[in-house]
Structure formats: C-alpha cells, structure tokens
C-alpha cells in the first residue's frame, strides 16, 4: 500500500514537471469507461439534503435522454464517510459517485479511490474560480472531482449591539483585537466572539487567509507547513486574545454557544457564507439583527479570505461507467437548473460562479432580510478566496488540532506549542503511512 501511494505521488509530480497531458497510472477512464451500451444506472453517496429531488430532475431530463439513471444513497457527512468510502473501495464496492469535502480529496486520491475525469469534465474549468478548481486537481493535470459548493469566510456581527457599544466593523485583525478589548471594557460580561478549539476547519480557513500552505509537494516528498510563519501568526493572534481574556475560549456548536449568540452575550462570529442557516437555529431570537462584512485582513492592502467547508462530486475508480458518472457530475454542478434546485432543496452555496448571483441568490437569506445585497457581497468575497493546500492526512491534523488547541484554549496557555504538536503529529502520521516527508 505505501508503495502505491508513493508511486502515485511520484507520477503526479513527474507529470506536472513534464507538463504531461494524461496520467497513465491514474486509472483514466479511457481504459474501461467507454463501453456504454444500453441503459446505465449509477449510485451516488451524498449528504446534501434534498439531493434526491435534484437527481430526479436529471433522471427525468438529461438522464432519460442519455439512459443514465442515478440513485441517491443518503449518507452522514464527516471524516467517517471517507473511511466508509475507503473500506468499500477495498472490497471494490464503492458507489459510482461520491460527495467529498475538498480536504478529503488527497486522502481519497492517494488511496486510488477517485478516478481522473479530466477528459470528461475538463471543459467545466471556466465555470469556477481558479482557487476552487485547483483543489480538485491537486496541482496535477488530472481532475478528481467537480466542485459543488464552497464556504468563503466572512465576518458576522450584531449590527444593533455594535451601534450600542460604539464599535466599528474591523477591517484588519488589529482592529478586530481592538474591538474585542473595547467591548470587554464597555460590557465585561460580553464577548466579541470565541476561539473554538473544536472547529479545525475554521482554524484551517484562517490560516489559509494568512497565506499558509499546510501540505505541499517537493519533488517526490510531502512537505508539511502547519508550523509555518503564516499559521504561527494566526495562532499567536488568537492565543493572545484568549490569554488576555478579550474573547471567550469555549467551543462553538454547543447549547451554551447557541445561548450566547441568542442572548447577545457573543456579538460577532467569524464564519462562512452558510452562517445564516446556522444562526436561524442557534439564535432564533436575533433575526434581522445581524449583518455580514468581509473578513478582517492582515494588512490594509490585502483583500483575501479563507474557506470553511465546501465539497465536490467525484467519480470512483470502482465505477464501471466512469464516463456516464462524470457526465452527471458535470451536469449537477454546472447546469443552471440543477444548481438552482441544489440551492433551493439543499441550501448549498454553489461553487459555480455564474450561479452565485442567479435564481435563489437574488434575494438575501430570510434571516438577513435587513441586508439586501447579502449575496452580491458574498459573490465578491468568494472571488478573493486564497488557494488552499490539502494533504493526505487532513483528518489526523484536525484531530491533533482539537487535542492540542483544546487544552491550550482551556488553560489560556501558549498556542505556539500547540501548533508545534500539531505539526509533529501530522508529520509522524504521514511517515507511518509510508509517505516520504521533506524536512
């Protein structure tokens, strides 16, 4: 197993270097996918709510014409689904299509579970922002998935309470810290926000905005940059705020956190484009009192954001009809009707740039009726998404984050050593898995 993984990385790296057009070792669909005689039926593992209704559109429309029927098998999202896909793949029984978060793609690809579908979906590239598309190619010439939804990060704040305490929306992180301190002075029982050691994705997004590249390849080796300068800057910034007590240190997504948002004890939230949905259930009494602004920047001249969440549609190497599956994946994520239905039924924010301002996104989310240009602003912010760099053991890094930062946040102690631990554990796991790691 380690051997294949290493070879795979070597092949990809070489392919990049030589500018080769196809990756011979990637099980490209030309070998076995073209024989499409008669009707085809595909299975699709996804967690998006209402996906069965979107797929119905396909089965009754383009799918009927092409004799390709897709069946949705609804799954729970999360890291466990990746394990489940890999287990099924080991038995050769993975479904034709899978939904996968961007950070899970390297894991799936290094286990040879995802097929290269560049031949079938390569044309779709223009429909997506470059930073989004790049996540599905892993920096090679192959394409392992079609982007479905994205989670560009934004700053959410209680408009009314900001006014009440005379706070300004922060443009830089420096101002953000000032705002937190000012609020603490004006109302000691309130917090601007909290640092949540439970949400690795949030921290990864913040690091991404600062310019961190956690996983890169160097020749035939992986290079882990979790403890790099950019991430250290982010960790020190939040660690400092927690240490001086300017913000809270309790995790997000707990009943206590919901209550803090609902009662206005926490008055801002660094989140992503999907925040309105979360706020609707977490803080129902605050409807219409929030506003959204771009994420604070590290310097005045910068204009970048990170991403938190987002997923793609991939075709597995186990699929016997890769062409058909790729055709469906492209339709699902680029067709206007499909995307409109996805937004309406599944509540997703589309990766496709043309869909970000159409259909469901002409009006603001109900919870943000007071901000009519919500989605225009969101689309502009989405364009500034910094590129991300995921590796084959994101799950290990995330677990290490939760453990190390959880302790550090609780004891309000140094975040730098927590970051070191995270780096060390991630490298150790890569080596254990048989990857070569550059020091």
């Amino acid at each position: 197993m380690p051997y294949t993984k290493r070879r795979r990385l070597v092949t990809s790296a070489v392919a990049v270097a030589l500018g080769a057009t196809t990756l011979a070792a990637c099980g490209s669909s030309d070998e076995d996918g073209d024989t499409q005689a008669g009707p085809v039926s595909l299975t699709y593992w996804t967690w998006t709510p209402g996906m069965d209704k979107v797929v119905d559109l396909w089965n009754k429309g383009p799918g009927k014409r092409e004799q390709i029927t897709v069946t949705v098998k609804k799954q729970a999202s999360g890291d466990t689904l990746v394990t489940k896909i890999l287990t099924a793949h080991k038995a050769g029984k993975a479904p034709d299509l899978v939904q996968a978060e961007y950070q899970a793609l390297p894991t799936l690809v290094s286990n040879d579970a995802l097929a290269d579908i560049s031949g079938e979906v390569g044309d779709a590239k223009g429909k997506f922002a470059e930073g989004v598309w790049q996540q599905t190619t892993l920096g090679t010439d192959a394409v392992y998935a079609v982007p479905q939804d994205i989670g560009p990060m934004m700053f959410y704040y209680r408009e009314d309470l900001f006014k009440k305490y005379g706070l300004k929306v922060p443009n830089t992180w420096e101002e953000f810290a000032e705002t937190a301190r000012k609020l603490k002075k004006a109302a000691p029982d309130k917090d601007l926000t909290t640092f949540s050691a439970n949400d690795s994705g949030l921290f990864a997004g913040l690091a991404q905005q600062a310019g961190a590249e956690w996983w890169t390849t160097e020749g035939e080796k992986w290079k882990v940059g979790i403890d790099d300068e950019a991430t250290r800057k982010v960790a020190d910034f939040w660690g400092g705020l927690v240490k001086e007590g300017a913000i809270d240190n309790q995790p997000m997504y707990t009943p206590a956190w919901n209550k803090a948002l609902n009662t206005g004890r926490q008055i801002a939230w660094v989140s992503a484009v999907w925040a309105p949905g979360t706020l609707t259930t977490a803080a129902p009494d605050t409807e219409g009192k929030w506003a959204m602004a771009p994420l604070p920047q590290w310097s005045d001249s910068e204009n970048r954001t990170g991403s938190w969440g987002g997923s793609s549609t991939g075709v597995t190497t186990d699929s016997k009809n890769k062409d058909a599956a790729a055709k469906f994946a492209a339709w699902l994520n680029t067709d206007a009707d499909a995307l409109n239905a996805l937004a309406k039924e599944g509540g997703i924010y589309p990766a496709s740039t043309s869909a970000q301002l159409s259909g469901a996104f002409t009006n603001p989310p109900e919870f943000f009726a007071n901000q009519p240009d919500f989605y225009t602003k969101a689309a502009e912010i989405a364009k500034t998404t910094a590129p991300s760099a995921w590796g084959p053991n994101v799950n290990v890094a995330y677990t290490a984050f939760k453990d190390a930062f959880g302790t550090a946040a609780k004891t309000r102690s140094d975040f730098a050593s927590a970051l070191e631990t995270m780096q060390k554990e991630t490298v150790a796991d890569l080596e254990k898995q048989g990857f070569e790691v550059a020091r």
């Binding site: 939804d149 209550k259 999907w274």
Partner: protein
C-alpha cells in the same frame, strides 16, 4: 441479585423487602453507600430527563428556555419527524425492530443450542472450543466490523438486511452465558433420567432442558436485543441505502448534514427519545421472566 433474594425467606405479601426483616438492632441506614447510589442514580437519570424534556421543546425554545422547563412543541416535533423525507424515521424504527428482534431471537436460539451442547456433552476439544469462545467474548465487535464487511463483500451480500443480521447471530457472549446457565440449571441427573426413559436427545433438549433454561435465555435475548438496537459501526459500514438504516444510523444522518445545513436538533432529540421507548417497554415486559430464576428446577438436592 434475584437469586440472593430467593435464598432468603420470601417476605410476606404486602411487605417491602428490607423493612421488617433482619435483626431489629441493625436498623441504621448506611449513609455513605446510600448517598453514593443516589448520586449514581442522578448521574444516570439526568441525561434521560434531559432528553425527555428537550423532546418537548420546539426549535425556538430548545436553547433559549431553562434546560429543565418543559416546552410546548412535542406534538409538532413528532409530526415533523414523521414528515421528514416521507416518514423515513418510522422505516428506520421498523428496520431496527427487525434487526434487533429477529437478530436477538436467532442469536438466542443458536446460543441455547451451543450452550446446552457445551454444558452437557463431553467431546474431544470441548474445552478448546470453549476457550476460543471466551477469547471471542473479550474481542470487541468493533474490531470485526471491517473484516466482516470485506467477507460479506466477497459473497455479494453487503448493503442488504442479511449483512447486518448475519454477523450478529453468533454471539460469543450469548453462548458463554448459555453454557454457564445450562450447566447450573440443567442437572445431569435430569438429562440422565430422560435418557433412561428412552427420550431422544432432541426431545430431552426441547421438552426438559429448554424450559429450565428460559430465564437465562431471556437474559441472552435482552442483551442481544439491546446490543443490536444500539449497534452503530456494523450497520454503518455494511449499509449504504438509507432505507435499510437502523435508527442509530438514521439519527446520525440527521445530525451530520454537512456544514451548510444546521443539524436538525429537535428532530434528533425527539427521535432519540422515541427510540428509547421500545427498549424500556421490552424490559418492563420481559422482566417478569427473571423472577422464575433458580426456582425452576426439577431435582431437589
């Protein structure tokens, strides 16, 4: 527990055990153990109370009102849950009942057969077999889920009802318990007497031994039922079609809907509350079989 109560003189009807018994001098209440037990009870019952009360709250009330203040949304929660994806919740409930009911029944039958055989027959390798079983008891079933998946994939049985039922039929713990119980409850004299009277081995087992083993088998059934009902990993790996999901998996999909969709807390909490009810009912109904206990024997020594 109950065997201890049986060995003592039974309290007269209408009296509570422990009140009028024992020497009158030692009536002092043991304070520390009582307090510890009370604390334990609170620790166990508080989460249950939380679920019961939270299930009555509407989404708006769930996190905003006082934790132990009952809400007003129970009926709405139940109807929302029933409406979710055309009532797939009740399908999950039915699936769980099938997996747990049929699975536990078959498992009990297998355990009874093998436990009785291990207890009454002497054959070569019996102890080795029993030791292997004991090792099986120590092995957490979680470890076996993936190999079982790969095995069933060879037989093309994954993503079927059978894939969840089959691995749970053979329960090392059930067989172990059945053997211990059969050895204690079915005296060799009785089996011998049956043979003298010319009964076939099958007849001895079904007519004489099995009735004596009933309380033990009820225990095995309950253990297995609860184990299957609460099992998560095996069905998680085996099944991909959510119409075949048991309740544990179903509730998990309600909770993990991806970052952009908030978890359906009210539905999950109501769903979890309703899912506990069958277990409670089962325990209340089956409990009375336990009281037979060791009283049911045929030979008095």
């Amino acid at each position: 527990m109950s065997s201890l109560a049986v060995r003592k003189a039974r309290p007269a009807a209408g009296t509570t055990p422990g009140t009028a018994q024992g020497p009158p001098l030692r009536r002092r209440v043991a304070l520390l153990p009582t307090l510890t037990l009370l604390l334990g009870a609170v620790y166990c019952l508080l989460p249950v109370a939380w679920v019961v009360i939270a299930a009555t709250k509407s989404g708006r009330e769930l996190f905003s009102t006082f934790t132990f203040l009952p809400g007003t949304g129970f009926a709405d929660n139940v109807s929302d849950l029933s409406a979710y994806r055309d009532g797939v919740y009740w399908q999950w409930m039915g699936n769980s009942a099938l997996y747990a009911g049929l699975g536990a029944l078959l498992s009990t039958v297998v355990s009874a057969f093998s436990g009785y055989a291990l207890a009454t027959y002497r054959f070569r390798g019996r102890e080795t077999l029993f030791n292997v079983l004991l090792a099986g008891v120590l092995m957490p079933p979680v470890i076996l889920a993936v190999p079982q998946y790969l095995l069933l994939a060879e037989a093309d049985l994954t993503d079927s009802y059978l894939s969840v039922l089959l691995p749970q039929i053979l329960s090392p713990y059930g067989v172990y318990l059945a053997r211990i119980y059969a050895a204690a409850a079915v005296p060799a004299d009785v089996v011998e007497a049956g043979r003298m009277d010319g009964a076939s081995e099958w007849r001895i087992f079904t007519r004489i031994a099995l009735p004596m083993m009933v309380p033990g088998m009820v225990t095995v059934f309950l253990f297995q039922f609860v184990a299957v009902w609460n099992n998560f990993l095996l069905p998680y790996i085996m099944l991909s079609d959510d119409e075949k999901f048991p309740i544990t998996l179903g509730l998990h999909t309600l909770l993990e809907q991806g970052a952009n969709t908030p978890a359906l807390y009210t539905l999950v909490i109501t769903g979890a509350f309703l899912a506990v009810l069958p277990l409670v009912a089962l325990f209340l109904v089956v409990q009375r079989f336990w009281s037979l206990d060791l009283l049911s024997g045929a030979v008095k020594s």
